[in-house]
């Protein structure tokens, strides 16, 4: 089985397993408890908080553990807008290609007053500081722009965007969803530039169900989950110490291996993309910065559903990026926002490589894709270069 869905979930790192497994039956105490075992659990949690904060460029007191990226995004958006409304500023500026955790939270929070400004990406999926600047003003409470898009992998310059926001929307809180970029990018500069930052553990090789929201010291944020004084009094609920530890180990390994992984995986990805283009695929994002593992393409004239089932039957795991409650694929809001339906078409597939992907995987995947395209009758038309320009 060739696994090309690392952007959805990537294998747990062995170092994580080795660190966490022995503690599963011993470090069970509640970290809020005052007894010895509780203190041991608390130490595990505090060590993890300190290490993750350090690696992301934040202070330990700025790092709150959550149940994952979705909760962090929801909290950042709803908590900021709730407070903003009380202070007479209710407008949110978010990109139209944010993760639904940001988009729907913003729609819900601004629903009554309708103060939601959507920033459109350029045709290759980049959200630029100039595009954001057009929506800024003194009435803006929140700007939320992702560090890199989860579907197409296109990266945004958050430092540049944050600079524009500070100049033109003095009261705005800046949030960025860095879930997809965390495995590949040094986020310290981004952390310095923004007020709130979302990172999730399982994309790093940690465990599902752990994420963090960095909340900078100066930022006041209404809580989302109430009912206890855990997490510095900002997020209620018994903490998952070993989940936190797993995230710390995973992030430590990601940072340690980053330069090598980025070079190796982006090399594999580029070779893979060349192979896809030779088979008639069209690359969605070109001429922009894309995360090392993402290969988002379309197969003109074919349908996503058929491609994915064909790949699955042949032993290749990939995805479309968007699906509904039934599990059926849907036309993604990200692809729609690129406004290139004619070129991009319906045969969208997101292949995503990860640190465990090998050259053999790439060769196997290309061979499977070739066979499935043959089965489905091949792509219907291709541009000369495979790139959209």
């Amino acid at each position: 089985m060739a696994y090309f869905d690392h952007a959805a979930a990537t294998p747990v790192r062995l170092e994580v397993l080795e660190a966490v497994a022995p503690l599963l039956t011993t470090a069970y105490a509640n970290p809020s408890a005052g007894h010895g075992q509780g203190r041991e659990a608390r130490a595990i949690l505090d060590d993890a908080r300190e290490e993750i904060a350090h690696l992301l460029g934040a202070l330990p007191g700025e790092l709150i553990f959550t149940s994952g990226g979705t909760e962090s995004d929801n909290w950042a958006v709803a908590g900021t807008l709730e407070r903003g409304r009380r202070e007479g500023r209710g407008r949110a500026v978010v990109s139209s290609i944010e993760h639904k955790a940001v988009l729907e939270a913003a729609e819900r929070a601004t629903g009554r007053s309708g103060e939601l400004s959507l920033v459109e990406p350029n045709e290759y999926g980049e959200v630029t500081a100039e595009a954001v600047a057009q929506h800024l003003g003194d009435d803006v409470a929140l700007v939320s722009i992702m560090t890199a898009n989860n579907e197409i992998g296109v990266m945004n310059d958050l430092v540049d965007i944050a600079r524009a926001v500070r100049r033109n929307a003095a009261h705005a809180v800046i949030h960025s969803d860095a879930v997809q970029s965390a495995p590949w990018c040094d986020l310290q500069e981004v952390t310095r530039a923004v007020d709130l930052l979302t990172v999730s553990s399982h994309k790093l090789g940690g465990l599902k169900g752990t994420g963090v929201l960095i909340v900078k010291e100066a930022v006041r944020l209404d809580p989302l989950v109430v009912g206890g004084a855990q997490e510095l009094g900002r997020r209620a609920g018994t903490q998952d110490c070993l989940g936190a530890m797993a995230m710390a180990v995973a992030l430590r390994c990601a940072v340690r291996d980053r330069d090598l992984d980025v070079a190796r995986v982006s090399g594999l990805r580029d070779g893979f993309l060349s192979g896809l283009v030779a088979l008639g695929a069209v690359v969605t994002a070109s001429g922009v910065r894309v995360l090392p593992g993402h290969a988002h393409v379309s197969f003109p004239g074919l349908l996503t559903d058929e491609l994915l089932v064909g790949f699955d039957r042949a032993g290749l795991a990939a995805s479309a990026g968007a699906s509904c409650a039934s599990g059926a694929t849907e036309l993604s809001h990200v692809v729609t926002a690129l406004k290139r339906e004619e070129a991009v078409g319906k045969g969208i597939v997101r292949f995503s490589l990860g640190r465990t992907t090998t050259q053999t995987d790439v060769a196997d995947a290309l061979e499977i894709i070739r066979r499935v395209l043959d089965l489905l009758g091949g792509v219907r038309s291709t541009s000369a270069t495979g790139l959209l320009d």
């Binding site: 559903d305 089932v309 509904c324 409650a325 039934s326 599990g327 059926a328 089965l375 489905l376």
Partner: protein, 352 residues
């Protein structure tokens, strides 16, 4: 054999999948997401899809969901709405089978390399002179050959209908014996995209500009009352249009959407022997339909089989019943069966 089984999340297709696995085939479950709106099964029919997925997991087979909402809207839902706006009563299940399940889905399965497509319909594929033919299911009460009667021979050749040989009670017993979670799930009764709390009236009422109509007794010309939505009245209908002067039953014999008038009459005037069909809608299961010979015709999903003869006309044929029967609404499907081999489907046509 590599078989794709269309799993609705109901007990019939669940058992069909189990039977295919038991028979040693390589089986893959597929569930179609057809209706994009809210249904009795929740948004995107999520709970039915859950049932199908759980059964697939239990059987150890792969399961996929295909999103065909746009195609379903275009080929089934919109024609259903438009039909009513134009005085026709299309059968959406027949249209779905014709265009979505046994055309789009079957083509997709062929492209993906499956040898056969299976469903949980109560009908059978039987051989006659070495040729696969569509036949009634063995359970008279559950027989679904009518809603498959429009399938061409090329489709029938690629079809497997594993539960057609079983009674419904046997299907449920089998599901219980295997421990399938769908074993006691009630049968679906209605059109899948119409919620039970809105009904046909609610669904069409929201999507059509419904107009009130005047009910007139055809015999006397007298006005008898009114109906709230003239487009929802069907030829042959008895309910909701009042009774005659002495309380006798009245039947709809005419719907005039230009004047918004419903004509009603006593049963003896609401019968017909000769049914006109739309030539373009005639399908056959392979052989030519036998002209000027007795056949059996069924005018609704669970209607009584009627004896009839197909009489050639200019460019087509009329269906002439041996005994007059209640009027059949334009848009309805007629299924034809072989009089000498009465389980065998010969073909179908839509009433003009």
């Amino acid at each position: 054999m590599e078989v794709a089984i269309a799993m609705s999340g109901g007990v019939d297709s669940s058992v069909a999948a189990a039977l295919l696995v038991e028979a040693g085939h390589q089986v893959t479950g597929v569930t179609l997401r057809l209706w994009g709106g809210v249904s009795d099964s929740g948004c995107c029919s999520a709970s039915d899809v859950d049932d199908a997925r759980r059964v697939a997991q239990q059987l150890g087979i792969a399961h996929h969901v295909f999103n065909l909402t746009e195609e379903f809207q275009a080929a089934v839902v919109q024609p259903y709405i438009d039909g009513h706006a134009n005085g026709k009563t299309p059968n959406p299940c027949v249209e779905c089978n014709r265009t979505v399940k046994f055309e789009l889905l079957l083509e997709r399965c062929r492209r993906l390399g499956f040898d056969k497509l299976a469903t949980g319909h109560h009908a059978r594929i039987v051989e006659r002179h070495g040729v696969p033919k569509l036949a009634r299911g063995v359970d008279d009460l559950k027989d679904q050959s009518y809603v498959l009667s429009m399938l061409p021979a090329s489709t029938i050749a690629d079809l497997v209908l594993p539960v057609g040989e079983m009674n419904k009670s046997e299907v449920r017993e089998r599901a219980l014996a295997i421990g399938l979670r769908t074993a006691t799930k009630p049968d679906s009764q209605d059109v899948c995209f119409i919620r039970s709390d809105e009904g046909r009236e609610g669904f069409l009422g929201e999507r059509l500009n419904v107009r009130p109509g005047t009910v007139i007794d055809r015999a006397t010309g007298k006005e008898m009352g009114s109906v709230p939505a003239v487009q929802l009245v069907t030829i042959g209908q008895r309910r909701g249009i009042g009774a005659g002067p002495n309380g006798e039953r009245r039947y709809v014999v005419g719907v005039d959407l230009k004047r918004d008038v419903i004509e009603v009459d006593a049963l003896e005037h609401a019968l017909q022997r000769r049914l006109k069909v739309l030539p373009a809608t005639v399908t056959t299961t392979g052989d030519e339909l036998p002209m000027s010979q007795e056949i059996i015709v069924q005018v609704s999903a669970h209607g009584k089989p009627l004896r009839a003869t197909l009489e050639p006309t200019n460019g087509g044929f009329d269906v002439v019943l041996d005994v007059p029967a209640r009027l059949v609404a334009p848009g309805q499907t007629l299924a034809f069966y072989d009089v000498s081999d009465p389980d065998i489907v010969l073909g179908s046509a839509i009433v003009a």
